[in-house]
Amino acid sequence: MGYNVLIVDDSETVRGIIAKTLGLSGVDLGAVRQAGNGEEALALLKSEPADLVFTDINMPIMTGIEMVERMRADPTLAAVPVVVVSTEGSRTRIEDLLAKGVQAYVRKPFTPELLREVVEKLLGGPHG
C-alpha cells in the first residue's frame, strides 16, 4: 500500500506536472487524486482520506490557504500534512504559510528528488 496523495490546483496541466514528477520520484504511491480548488479538495478528503496534500495557493472558489484553515479546524483532517507548491519566492509569504498550518513549501520548478525529500520528511520515509 503506497501513500494516497491529493493534488489541488486549478490548472489541469500543473496537476499533471506534479503527478508526473511524483511518479518519477520513486515515492511509493497509492491513489493519486486531483481537485481543481479547495472546496473540491475538502469534499474529496471527506470521502477518500489522503496521506498528503499538495496544493496551489491562488485558486478560484476556495484558495489553498482557506482550504488549509478549514482542514486544521476539522478534527478528521487536522493531521493531514499539506505542501504548498508555488512560484512564490518571498520569505515573508512562505513564513506566513507555515504559520497558517502548511507543513512544507516547494518552489517551482521542482525535481522528482525534491518531491521525494519532502514526502519522506513529512511521512517518515519509504511506506511500510
Partner: protein, 151 residues
Amino acid sequence: MDESTESAVRQVFGEVLERFAFMFVEPPDEAVAAPAEPMLAARMGFDGPLRGTVALAVPAPLARELAANVLGVEPDDGEAMPGDALKELLNVVVGNLLTALAGEAPVFDLTIPELVRFDASHWDALAGKQGSLVLLVDEQPVLLSVAMQPA
C-alpha cells in the same frame, strides 16, 4: 531594460525552461523574423517593489512541444494543453525572475497569467523595443517582453 536586468532575464528563462520542460535556450546569431506559424502568447503582471508586466510569445508548434514535455506525453496527445503549459511557464519564469531581481525579502502580488492574441504585427512591434528579447528555444524563436519600473 539595463544590462544586469537583461542578463537576469536570460539566465532565469534559460534555467526555468531547462528544469521545467527539458528545453534549451540559445541567443540567435542574427536578427530573427516573426515566425510564419500561428503564435500563442501569455501575459501576466506583478506589483511590489517593482511593478510591470511580462509577456511571452512562442510559435504554436513549440507550445505543443512544451506542453508535451512538461507532462511527459507526445505532442499530439490530447492530454497536452499548449495554452495552459505556456501560462504555467510564464508564471514560473516571473516568480523566479522577481526573486532574482529583488531578493527573497519583498512580497509581490502576481496576476493570473492570461492568453492574449498575438500575431506577426505584435511580434514586429515588440521585437525591437526596449525590454524585449528574442531567443531561440529548440531552434524556434520566442519573444520575451519585460516592462517594469520601481513602484
